[in-house]
C-alpha cells in the first residue's frame, strides 16, 4: 500500500510542536507529528472520585513516581512512568524530571503563567559579567510574543518596566486589592520594589494547550497527520549529504519498528527528550556543547505569615484574599552589588489556611491552632533563576535502557553558592516585608527543591552565533545538520525567572516561519 509522504516530521505535540505544526501547515507544508504517548479523552479517561475509592486512598502506588513531587493518586496516570522510561542521576544530586507523554504533552497541565523574557535575560552576560548572551534580543522576539499572547489570550497589567516587558494583553478587570495586599504593596513600594499582578493565559474553556489552540487549525488544513504512541528512537541521516532524512520509531504497544522519510525534522519533544534523541542519533554535536548548560528555575523558598486581626474568624470583609506579583527586582543594573547574580520573582497570596506541618503540635492542640489561623495566612514564594553552567549536563547512560531499548539520559545538575545566596536573600527579604506589615511569621525556608522540580528545564542545545560554542543558530536550526530544528526549550541560553512557555511558543513560531521560507526557496 502506498504511504503518504511528508515534508516535515515533528516530534512531540506540546506547545512547541503544536506551534510548529500550526505555522508550517498554514503555509501549505505537509507535516507528520509523532507523539510518544496516547491521546487523552477528557470524558472517558477521568472521573470525579473520593480519595477512599482509589486503591491507595490517595497516596498512590508506593515508589511509582519518586521524583514527581506534584504527583498524587488522582493525577498519577498523567505523568510518564519512571520505570517505563527511567533516567539516572548521581546519588548526591537528585533531579526531578517531570514528564507527560499524552498528546499535547505538558501543555495540558501547565500553570498558564505567561511572561516575556527581558533583555536582562537575553543580554545576561552584559549585566552578569559572565556567561553568554542570546544571539537574539527582546526586539527580535517581541512581534512573535505579541502574536502568541493573542492566541493564548494572556491577561496582564501593563507596567512599563524594562525587566517585566509588557505584552498584547487581554484587558480584564482585576478585583480591587484587599487591605492585606494593599498593605503589602505599600511596604514593598516604599523600598522601590514594583508590585504587579500575575500574567496568565486564559486560553479557551479553561485550557491553553496545543490540543485546543494550535492543533485543530493545523488539522483543518488537511496538511497534518498525527500518530499517537509512536516513540522516535533515532533520526536517520543520508550518508551522502549528512542531512537528516527521517526517523526510526517504534510503536509503543507492539514494539513494531517503523521508519518515516521526510525532508526536514523538527524536534519538539520537550527539551531533554529532544536532546536525548539527538545524542542517541549521534548528530549535531560538533561543538561538544550538546547536553550541557542544563538549567531551570529554583522553587521552594517560602515564607508564611499570619495577619493577627484575621485570626479566629474575625477578618473583616475586604481584609484577606487576593494576590500580588513582584517581577525581578534584584540586579537590575550593574550598580546593584549582591553576593549573587541573576534574580527572582515573588508571588504573594493572601487568605490561605495554615498547613498542619507549619506547627510542632498534634491532636486537639493542632486542630485548635489550624482553626484559629484559618483564612489568616499570607504566603510568599519565588521562582529564582539558576546560572546556566557547562557542568550541569545530560548525557546518554548506555547501561540503562527504557522499555523499548532506547538508552536513557544521565542527568547531573548541582547548585552552587550563587543559588544558595539568592535563595537566602529571597527568604530574608520576604520575611522582612511581612514583618514590616505587622504579620506573625509562621514559617520560613530558603531551602531549594531539587533541580527539575519547577518543570521549567531548558538548555542543553543552546543557540548561538558561534558553531563552536552552540548547537543551534538563532533560528533554532542545527549548525551541523541544516534540516534539523529544535523548537522546544532546549535552545535557551539562560532560563530567566519567567515561566518559559511564552518564549518557547514564540521561538517555535519564529523558527517555523523561517523554516517555511527556507523550504520555499529550497535553501533547506
Amino acid at each position: 500500500m502506498p504511504v503518504k509522504t511528508y515534508d516535515v516530521l515533528i516530534v512531540g505535540s506540546g506547545h512547541s510542536g503544536g506551534m510548529a505544526a500550526n505555522i508550517l501547515t498554514s503555509k501549505g507544508i505537509s507535516c507528520l507529528m509523532l507523539n510518544a504517548g496516547p491521546e487523552a479523552d477528557y470524558e472517558k479517561d477521568r472521573a470525579l472520585k473520593h480519595a477512599y475509592e482509589l486503591p491507595y486512598r490517595g497516596f498512590d502506588k508506593p515508589g511509582r513516581l519518586p521524583h514527581v513531587f506534584q504527583a498524587n493518586e488522582f493525577n498519577a496516570n498523567q505523568w510518564v512512568d519512571e520505570k517505563e522510561v527511567p533516567y539516572t542521576c548521581p546519588s548526591d544530586a537528585p533531579y526531578n524530571w517531570v514528564r507527560v507523554r499524552l498528546l499535547g504533552g505538558r501543555s495540558l497541565f501547565w500553570a498558564r503563567q505567561s511572561f516575556r523574557l527581558s533583555n536582562l535575560e537575553f543580554k545576561a552576560a552584559e549585566i552578569d559579567g559572565e556567561g553568554e548572551n542570546w544571539p537574539i534580543s527582546l526586539e527580535d522576539l517581541a512581534p512573535y510574543y505579541s502574536r502568541v499572547e493573542k492566541i493564548f489570550r494572556v491577561a496582564g497589567r501593563k507596567e512599563g518596566w524594562p525587566q517585566f516587558p509588557d505584552g498584547d494583553f487581554v484587558e480584564i478587570n482585576y478585583p480591587p486589592d484587599t487591605d492585606s495586599i494593599k498593605r503589602f504593596t505599600q511596604i514593598a513600594t516604599k523600598q522601590g520594589v514594583g508590585v504587579s499582578k500575575w500574567r496568565s493565559a486564559l486560553g479557551k474553556d479553561g485550557l491553553a494547550s496545543s490540543i485546543n489552540l494550535l492543533l485543530p487549525d493545523a488539522l483543518a488544513t488537511g496538511k497534518l497527520d498525527i500518530v499517537e504512541n509512536a516513540i522516535v528512537r533515532e533520526i536517520s541521516v543520508d550518508k551522502n549529504t549528512g542531512l537528516a532524512n527521517g526517523a526510526h520509531f517504534v510503536d509503543r504497544h507492539s514494539g513494531r519498528e517503523m521508519h518515516v522519510k521526510t525532508r526536514v525534522v523538527v524536534l519538539a519533544a520537550g527539551c531533554l527528550e529532544s536532546t536525548r534523541l539527538l545524542l542517541n542519533s549521534k548528530i549535531g554535536n560538533s561543538s561538544g556543547v550538546m547536553g550541557h548548560y542544563l538549567v531551570d528555575q529554583m522553587y521552594g523558598v517560602s515564607v508564611v505569615a499570619s495577619v493577627p486581626e484575621a485570626r479566629d474568624g474575625k477578618a473583616p470583609p475586604g481584609l484577606m484574599g487576593g494576590n500580588a506579583f513582584i517581577p525581578r527586582f534584584r540586579n537590575l543594573s550593574k550598580k546593584d552589588k549582591r553576593n549573587f547574580i541573576k534574580g527572582y520573582c515573588v508571588g504573594i497570596s493572601s487568605g490561605g489556611n495554615a498547613n498542619a506541618n507549619f506547627f510542632p503540635l498534634y491532636g486537639e492542640e493542632l486542630q485548635a491552632k489550624l482553626d484559629s489561623y484559618a483564612n489568616s495566612c499570607v504566603s510568599g514564594s519565588i521562582f529564582g533563576e539558576r546560572v546556566a553552567r557547562y557542568e550541569n549536563h545530560v548525557r546518554i547512560d548506555s547501561e540503562v535502557k527504557d522499555r523499548w531499548g532506547i538508552p536513557v539520559l544521565h542527568i547531573e545538575a548541582r547548585d552552587t553558592d550563587n543559588e544558595r545566596n539568592l535563595c537566602k536573600d529571597a527568604a530574608d527579604t520576604i520575611e522582612e516585608w511581612f514583618h514590616d506589615a505587622g504579620w506573625e511569621i509562621i514559617c520560613k525556608t530558603d531551602r531549594v527543591n531539587p533541580p527539575g522540580y519547577s518543570i521549567h528545564e531548558v538548555g542543553t542545545c543552546r543557540m548561538g552565533d558561534d558553531p563552536k560554542k552552540s548547537v543551534l543558530n538563532k533560528w533554532c536550526q542545527s549548525h551541523d545538520v541544516k534540516n534539523i530544528f529544535v523548537v522546544d526549550g532546549a535552545s535557551f541560553v539562560t532560563c530567566g525567572w519567567q515561566n518559559p512557555t511564552m518564549t518557547i511558543l514564540s521561538l517555535s513560531m519564529r523558527a517555523s516561519e523561517y523554516l517555511a521560507e527556507q523550504m520555499r526557496t529550497n535553501a533547506v
Binding site: M1, P2, K4, T5, D7, N22, S26, K27, S30, G37, P38, D41, D45, R46, A47, L48, K49, H50, A51, Y52, E53, L54, R57, F59, P62, F69, N72, F74, N75, A76, N77, D81, L102, R147, L214, P216, D217, L219, N229, H253, R263, S302, V304, N355, A356, N357, F358, F359, P360, Y362, G363, E364, R403, C443, K444, T445, R447, N449, M519, R520
Partner: protein, 224 residues
C-alpha cells in the same frame, strides 16, 4: 479507528483560525514537496448485536463495606504503637472521625507493607524506637502510656516543616513527621471522613485530600 475519526471531525468542525488571525498576512508559499495521497481502506460498518443501552449497569459494593482489613505487615508491638500514635495525633474532633475510627493504622499497615525499603525501614525504626524509649523511661510499652507520658516523648520530636516535603534529617524526627502526615492523610481520605463531611453538609476539597478528578490509566501499556 472510529473514535479517532470522530475526534478528528470534532476538531475540524469549529475551525477557529486563532493563529491565522494573529499572524501577519503574508502569501503562503507553495509547498516544496507535493503530498502523495495514501489510500486507506474504510473500516467496515456492521450491526452490533446489542447497543450499549442494552447492557445493564450493575450496582457493585465497595470492598471496604464487606470486610475488615487484615493487618499483617507490622509486628503486634509495632502495630500497637502505630495505633497509639493514631489515637494521639488524630483524635476524633467535632463531627470528624479520628484515625482509629477511619482505620488509618490498618491502612498504613497495608501501604507501608507495599512500600520501598527506605519507607519500611523508617517506620520499623520509628515504631521500635518509640517503644524502646517508653520502656526505658516509663517501664512499659508505648501503647500503654497515658497522654502526658506520651507527650513527654513526642513533643521534643516535633518540628516545623515549611513544605510537606521538608523532612528533618534526624531519623526519629523524620519518622514522627512522616507518620503524623500519613495518619492525617489516611484519616481525611477515608470513607468515614467523607461520610461525616457529607452528613455535616461540608464540601469536599478538590485535590489531594477529599475528592478530585481521578485520571484512569490511559491506554495502559499492559493492554498493548
Amino acid at each position: 479507528m472510529k473514535r479517532r475519526n470522530f475526534v478528528q471531525n470534532l476538531l475540524l468542525a469549529p475551525v477557529a483560525p486563532a493563529v491565522a488571525a494573529a499572524a501577519t498576512q503574508t502569501p503562503s508559499p507553495q509547498p516544496a514537496i507535493h503530498q502523495k495521497p495514501a489510500t486507506e481502506p474504510k473500516t467496515p460498518v456492521r450491526e452490533r448485536p446489542w447497543g450499549p443501552h442494552d447492557v445493564p449497569k450493575l450496582d457493585l459494593t465497595g470492598v471496604d463495606l464487606t470486610g475488615q482489613p487484615a493487618p499483617h505487615y507490622f509486628t503486634a508491638a509495632q502495630f500497637a504503637t502505630l495505633r497509639k500514635l493514631g489515637a494521639l495525633f488524630v483524635p476524633p474532633l467535632k463531627s470528624n472521625p479520628g484515625a482509629l475510627e477511619a482505620q488509618a493504622p490498618e491502612f498504613l499497615d497495608f501501604l507501608i507493607g507495599a512500600s520501598p525499603d527506605d519507607r519500611q525501614n523508617l517506620y520499623r525504626f520509628g515504631l521500635d524506637s518509640l517503644d524502646s524509649q517508653s520502656r526505658d523511661q516509663f517501664q512499659k510499652p508505648f501503647c500503654d502510656l497515658d497522654a502526658q507520658q506520651a507527650d513527654r516523648i513526642l513533643r521534643p520530636l516535633l518540628v516545623v516543616r515549611p513544605w510537606a516535603e521538608d523532612f528533618p534529617s534526624d531519623p526519629l524526627q523524620k519518622f514522627i513527621a512522616q507518620v503524623h502526615e500519613d495518619l492525617r492523610t489516611a484519616t481525611m481520605n477515608s470513607r468515614e471522613w467523607a461520610a461525616a463531611s457529607e452528613k455535616s453538609g461540608r464540601h469536599f476539597t478538590r485535590g489531594f485530600r477529599g475528592s478530585g478528578y481521578y485520571w484512569f490509566p490511559i491506554d495502559p501499556i499492559s493492554q498493548g
